[in-house]
Point group: C2
Chain length 539, copies 2
């Protein structure tokens, strides 16, 4: 069954059983381990998972004839059934995904990985797969934390991972209009590098930035940490090209239009279930020439949240604005290296960053600080904000270390109106703590506001507890409790992680059963055979 072979295709820059770059992994300091043990009863896990060489993958179900037909479309060197190619594309990066990687039973994997090089090749692949009843999972950076790239066969004979990395071009940069057309397979850093060479920036920096792709950002309605300044990814999208089994869509003719419903919005968040996004036309801006930082302390979360609300409703223009609650602030204090001479001393930490021309940066900074001061904030100077920015993409490495140390650690996120924020935060915290208690462990639940809107904000929760019994089963119950609390308290089931498989149980509550029927109708129109990303988004 095991026939380990060397990789034949370029690999995603991502560990198969943990986050990111192996070189950046950082084991937990012993004092933190002691703290976890004392506070939460976490004890080191004794179940080491298999190595990449030891892991068993289900063997490829594609026939030599299938493989020949696929190769005839994409040419030599763009198709592989090697375990070493299939393994790193076998799923996403949620805690359940990582826990499943510890299994020594045969693991799910795509039956092959294909790297098409053109829209025509994708169209031909989709036609072939519809005819031969092969499922297709479009694959970008593989950073989904909601099961979005799970290689589900969905009742078909096999499943093909369609890796978009060859769609890696800056097709067009319109400097007058501030628009760039970017290939869907470009990772965040690749896209920013191509733009920066010409003096431009997209400004989309989600935690997955280093690995996730332009197509993935679009397909999941991603939102970056600079969303206060540059908007959510969907707000940046001016147009997109999508290859569907029913044909090509090229949507978005003008900055704004009244020519019927905005069909771009059907593909933002379509999660590979309606078609394969190949290129995205995006609003870009000149690289900022100036940057300012300031961190703030608020006596409590409610005061801090009211301050963020005032900033956003008055439109003073920070590029980044975020607020940690008391628990997260305390943990940051404990976990982070000492920062300059300034110490965060309890309360709630807020971070602000400002970008633009020197004049814009100064004006935005000044206007924002006036609002934050008036709302009860105490300045902590620039250093804690710089420290946040320095480590902004590294939290997933910490989760790896916590999981390795025997802790259960996961994140979840939601959003709601300002008027509902306290209620939602309290309800989700309570649901997480209570459901974990029922599994026999205390927990640490931390929360921050990472995205603000005039009418509301997101809430991002991080939970740490001890693993009890089968941690997959344990987390499934906790996640269910949290999801129910979100839906019962005016939250959305996901603010920027998408639906995938994990949030599917709540989609009917989110958009109504009739809303689900609309998605189904669109799916049936574009993908009548149902081959695209089975089990995701559309129930």
């Amino acid at each position: 069954m095991v026939h380990h072979t060397d990789a034949e295709l370029p690999l995603p820059p991502m560990k198969w059983d943990a986050w990111g770059d192996p070189a950046l992994a950082k084991p937990l300091p012993d004092d933190i381990k002691g703290l976890l043990s004392a506070a939460l009863g976490v004890s080191a896990s004794d179940t080491a998972g298999p190595t990449a060489e030891e892991v068993l993958l289900r063997p490829s179900a594609l026939s030599p004839d299938d493989l020949a037909a696929i190769t005839a479309i994409v040419g030599d060197g763009h198709l592989s059934t090697a375990d070493a190619d299939r393994l790193p594309r076998s799923g996403g990066k949620s805690t359940p995904d990582l826990l499943r990687r510890k299994s020594r039973e045969p693991q799910d994997a795509p039956d092959a990985v294909v790297l098409p090089g053109s829209e025509e090749e994708i169209a031909a692949l989709l036609a072939l797969c519809a005819e031969r009843r092969i499922a297709v999972v479009p694959f970008g950076g593989g950073t989904s934390v909601v099961g979005g790239v799970q290689p589900d066969r969905g009742g078909f004979a096999a499943v093909l991972c369609l890796d978009l990395r060859r769609f890696d071009r800056l097709h067009e940069l319109d400097e007058l209009s501030g628009e760039a057309v970017l290939g869907a397979g470009l990772t965040g850093p690749q896209a920013e590098e191509l733009l920066a060479e010409r003096g431009w920036e997209l400004g989309h920096y989600p935690q997955s930035f280093r690995y996730a792709t332009i197509g993935g950002f679009a397909a999941t309605r991603s939102s970056g940490q600079d969303s206060a300044g540059y908007g959510r990814f969907d707000e940046m999208v001016r147009g997109l090209r999508v290859v569907t089994p029913a044909g090509l869509l090229d949507l978005g003719r003008a900055p704004a239009s009244a020519a019927g419903p905005d069909l771009r919005e059907l593909f933002l968040g379509s999660e590979g279930a309606f078609g394969v996004i190949t290129a995205v036309r995006l609003r870009v801006h000149p690289l900022p020439t100036s940057k300012a930082y300031e961190a703030w302390s608020f006596p409590d979360f409610a005061t801090g949240a009211a301050a963020l609300r005032a900033v956003e409703q008055q439109g003073t223009g920070p590029t980044v604005i975020r607020l940690s609650d008391e628990a997260e602030t305390a943990v940051n204090l404990a976990m982070t290296d000492k920062i300059g001479g300034t110490q965060v001393t309890g309360g709630c930490l807020a971070v602000t960053v400002f970008e633009g021309t020197p004049e814009q940066t100064a004006a935005r900074h000044e206007a924002t600080r006036a609002v934050l001061l008036a709302a009860g904030g105490t300045s902590l100077g620039a250093e804690p904000a710089k420290a946040w920015e320095h480590g902004r993409f590294n939290a997933p490495y910490l989760r790896d270390s916590l999981l390795a140390a025997g802790a259960l650690c996961e994140t979840l996120e939601t959003a709601t109106e300002w008027a509902e924020l306290d209620r939602l935060k309290a309800a989700v915290t309570e649901a997480l703590q209570t459901s974990l208690k029922q599994t026999g462990t205390d927990s640490l639940v931390m929360c921050h506001i990472s995205h603000v809107y005039p009418t509301g904000a997101s809430l991002y929760f991080t939970v740490v507890a001890a693993q009890q019994g089968d941690p997959l089963t344990q987390w499934a119950g906790v996640k269910r409790a949290a999801g129910e609390a979100i839906m019962a308290n005016a939250g959305t089931i996901t603010h920027h992680h998408a639906v995938g498989t994990d949030h599917l149980p709540w989609l009917g509550q989110e958009i109504g059963e009739l809303g689900v029927r609309i998605l189904r109708a669109v799916k049936d129109t574009l993908d009548p055979a149902g081959i695209l990303n089975p089990g995701k988004l559309v129930p």
Copy 2:
């Protein structure tokens, strides 16, 4: 055939054969008539249309049994087949609509007008109409200029005008989040009055403001003259309720979500073809406490457009910013009463307005004026901007007078990227002038930018010529030429007027044939009998 009866229902505050309030109509001054005659060869039309009492409407095709069944749903006093009720709901306000009103042949009209009072009544009406094969045209202010409320039977036995004026409540005002839930039947002034009583404002001021409704704004992706400050109407929408033949949709749970495609965007621009919008949750803001005005002159349109682009791309925050081209500036100069001591002296006139707190207004004004000065603008002081605001809703009255004087007068609008703006403007102007010349008349084509985006802007054209032959046929050819020029030069077929019947020929080019199939699939899911607003939006 004619059985004129008194109105039984509250009437729309709108003339049946012209724009708006009869009290505000203003005949053209004699010297303007002379100018039209000399420059364009316009001669007074000798075909006076029928009066409201003389007009022939097609008789109601609804049977006594149908009427009884409808009355059983909505109760007495909410259904009428009287000509006086049907006539003012027989169409919209495009120039072709108004020209058709001059006919002494039997005119199209809905077979009855119904005023439901609840979502349940609408659901029951839709079920009844699906069963009895009666088409339904949702009706708000009746201000469509694209045939959007035409009483088309679409192959059914009869057509019912479903007037939403009883959905006239401010359901909810969340002052913390800045959100209001407004009934779909509220007109612009009604909505603003309800909000102003509590210190809030929506800030949506399209030219149709005085008559059009909240539901109509949503159903057509309306954009108001304050869009630079407060956004397009679709950007204000946080949620909406839609009664469809397949059930109720209640969309929009949070300020932002990644829970799949944003289905609100399917109903913004749905033009009554997918369902009946009953209530809209909208972002609102505190009434501004301060306001500043400044008008500007630019040597030419290209310089002015570059200046507007700089303002929008730098985000200096005007509430209103617009630019008339040389022709429109010259005509404004000729048509408007003298304004204070300041005279607009050729070139291109730009208008800016700033709102907010005194500090915000001052900061926005200062930052904007710095950009406009640097871009080559000359300040004309506040008066021309105040004069623009004073007359901002009155252009349609002018059209009435021009039509009555024998001129052909109509508007059309589009949008594109900044880089394409000059090309699009030149191409549409050329198409209008050439096609009118072919009908035997010179023409005056004026244009302004009324809505700006970081990546592009709208173009709004007004054309005046002499009527030649049948002016309906004459305009149909001109409109076709303009539409083709728009599509061939990177424009959208409509920036804020919607599709209706008039833009339907270009929808396939706008969103692709596959895009049209998506709309059809959504329509078939929500309105399987196809009774909703036949002939609009979905080909």
